[in-house]
């Protein structure tokens, strides 16, 4: 039978009432708290009724090499009335008492609330506010990317998970701040009116559920990559982040053993966190993302050829639509390539090209993108983005007046489509089309001298 156990707990910093009840239950089951960190460590004792009290000592710091004289004096005071220290973590001190009716450690509600607030202002609240700020910045970056490259975001589970995770981080940290200040305000009122301490009851099941969603989303992402190599890359990112966090903690603990002052320890830990935690981790993650992209785009060509001292690749990917489907083609040197095939739970985009060799550019070519929308409510947004992209591809600068180019609606019936648009530049029709079907939108480009027939439109309509 084990004599110690470790438990991952999810109590809010200020939730002393629930912590005390939890520890009393543990003692009744024969477990006494002996250390607090990420996990709470318990040691086996005889099952017994004990009283627990969570006290807050604002002057303590998680970077203190050892408890200060003031902290030890505080503990001496508590021990005088039978309260023994079970464990402490930064400002939180947890005591237990074996007497039946011990005098509580805190007998002045207003004073107790002031101590909790002073302690919260040291770590808990700044940490929550920093998380909210980090979440807002990252959500802003996500939103920015959505405005200028919406389709890349919508067709990438990685980007979507990134946005969702930071949104969940925002929800969790913001809700913690709101819950704390709600309790604090009410507790002050209660203390002022009837001099009693209002019990805490933080709802930690919401952060736990949201954290579970984040981990589930990450697991889904690993599965969605589909390939062992890419899943390993993504998994190694997760392990690396855990490793860096552990390393920073180990360094901080070692500085305590060297008796470095709390201020120096804190300053060095912040620097290490910024350099290793943010700098190195960012480089590693970006490298992993690029590696994932390279792996995804890396294909073995069917053939290669030399032209003007450059090597060109030839692919024979299976395309949904080829020039051979539209007309008789005698040339046999085409490269059929799927440039991109991004998929997410929201949308999918396939980019395909059929191009002749560089020494046969007089042969026709074909290029198209097929965007499939999985959620109907996203369809109008995707259509707007694709119409805009069609125009933006031909603008020389953002400030340029693009009224010289237009998407003109055309009869969709020959294409078997719901809507059809053609690009016009300076009053002349271009061989660039946007076709809207029930769930997909097709962006199609032919050579300028291509003669599009009604039969070909019908074939395209049947294909998509």
């Amino acid at each position: 039978m084990k004599d110690t156990k470790k438990i991952l707990t999810f109590f809010s910093f200020y939730d002393k009432t629930r912590i005390e009840h939890y520890l009393e239950e543990q003692a009744q089951n024969g477990w006494l708290l002996e250390k607090i960190h990420l996990f709470w460590r318990f040691r086996r004792i005889q099952p017994q009724n004990m009283h627990f009290s969570v006290s807050y000592f604002p002057k303590a710091s998680s970077f203190d090499p050892a408890p200060s004289e003031q902290q030890l004096l505080f503990q001496d005071f508590c021990e005088h009335t039978g309260w023994k220290l079970a464990a402490s973590n930064a400002q939180m001190q947890i005591f237990y008492n074996e007497k039946d009716t011990p005098i509580p450690i805190e007998t002045d509600a207003s004073l107790e609330i002031a101590q909790i607030h002073a302690s919260a202002k040291k770590n808990f609240l700044p940490f929550c506010f920093l998380l909210v700020l980090a979440a807002l910045i990252n959500m802003g970056l996500f939103g920015l990317r959505l405005t200028y490259d919406a389709l890349s975001v919508l067709t990438s589970n990685t980007y979507l998970l990134y946005g969702v995770c930071w949104f969940l981080v925002f929800l969790i940290s913001f809700s913690e701040i709101i819950a704390y200040f709600k309790w604090h305000k009410k507790a002050l009122q209660v203390a002022e009116s009837n001099e009693t301490f209002m019990e805490t009851n933080a709802h930690t099941h919401i952060p736990v559920i949201l954290s579970f969603f984040m981990l589930t989303g990450y697991a889904f992402l690993l599965i969605s990559y589909g390939g062992k190599q890419m899943s390993l890359i993504a998994l190694s990112t997760f392990v690396m982040i855990l490793g860096v966090t552990t390393l920073i903690h180990v360094i901080s603990e070692q500085m305590k053993r060297w008796n470095l002052s709390a201020k120096l320890n804190c300053a060095i830990t912040i620097i290490i966190t910024l350099v290793i935690g943010c700098g190195f981790t960012s480089v590693f993650i970006i490298g992993c993302i690029e590696q994932v992209a390279a792996v995804q785009s890396e294909k073995i060509p069917a053939d290669t050829y030399e032209f003007r001292n450059h090597t060109f690749k030839v692919y024979h990917d299976e395309l949904p639509l080829t020039l051979e489907d539209l007309t008789e083609i005698t040339y046999d040197g085409y490269s059929y390539r799927i440039q991109k095939n991004d998929k997410s739970i929201l949308a999918q985009q396939l980019s395909a090209t059929q191009r002749p060799r560089m020494d046969a550019l007089e042969q026709p070519s074909l290029e198209y993108k097929v965007t499939t929308v999985n959620l109907p409510f996203l369809y109008p947004f995707v259509k707007t983005v694709m119409l805009q992209n069609l125009a933006d591809n031909y603008a020389f600068s953002e400030e340029e007046d693009t009224s010289w180019q237009q998407h003109k609606e055309m009869d969709p019936a020959p294409w078997n489509a719901n809507e059809a648009y053609q690009l016009w530049i300076y009053g002349e029709a271009e061989m660039r089309f946007l076709l809207c079907y029930d769930r997909s939108i097709v962006e199609l480009s032919f050579d300028d001298d291509w003669k599009l027939t009604e039969e070909q439109k019908e074939v395209i309509g049947r294909t998509f």
């Binding site: 004096l73 005071f77 508590c78 005098i103 450690i105 002045d108 107790e112 002022e192 001099e195």
Partner: protein, 106 residues
Amino acid sequence: MPREKFRTLTEQMFYVLLCLKEECYGMDILDKVPAMTQNRVTVGSGTLYNLLEQFLEAGMISETKVEGRKRSYILTAKGKDMLDKEYARIQAQVHDYRIIFEEEPK
């Protein structure tokens, strides 16, 4: 509206200051207050620690001796003045109570 600090003293504050009429170890106050009040008033160890810090900061008590972690305190003139004011306030309340219940003439 929150009470202005030390404008009126709570019962615990009153008895802690009373204990410090004579030089006394901080920890001994934990036993003195219940003994003085026949266990009617008790002060928590954490509350006492914080009150002594606040009284020191406000100049109501002063530290007289430090022996390792054991510290002794004594009431200052300012602390005595706060006690006197609180005593006068309590007396006024007693007087008003007696008038209302006609135990004393107005």
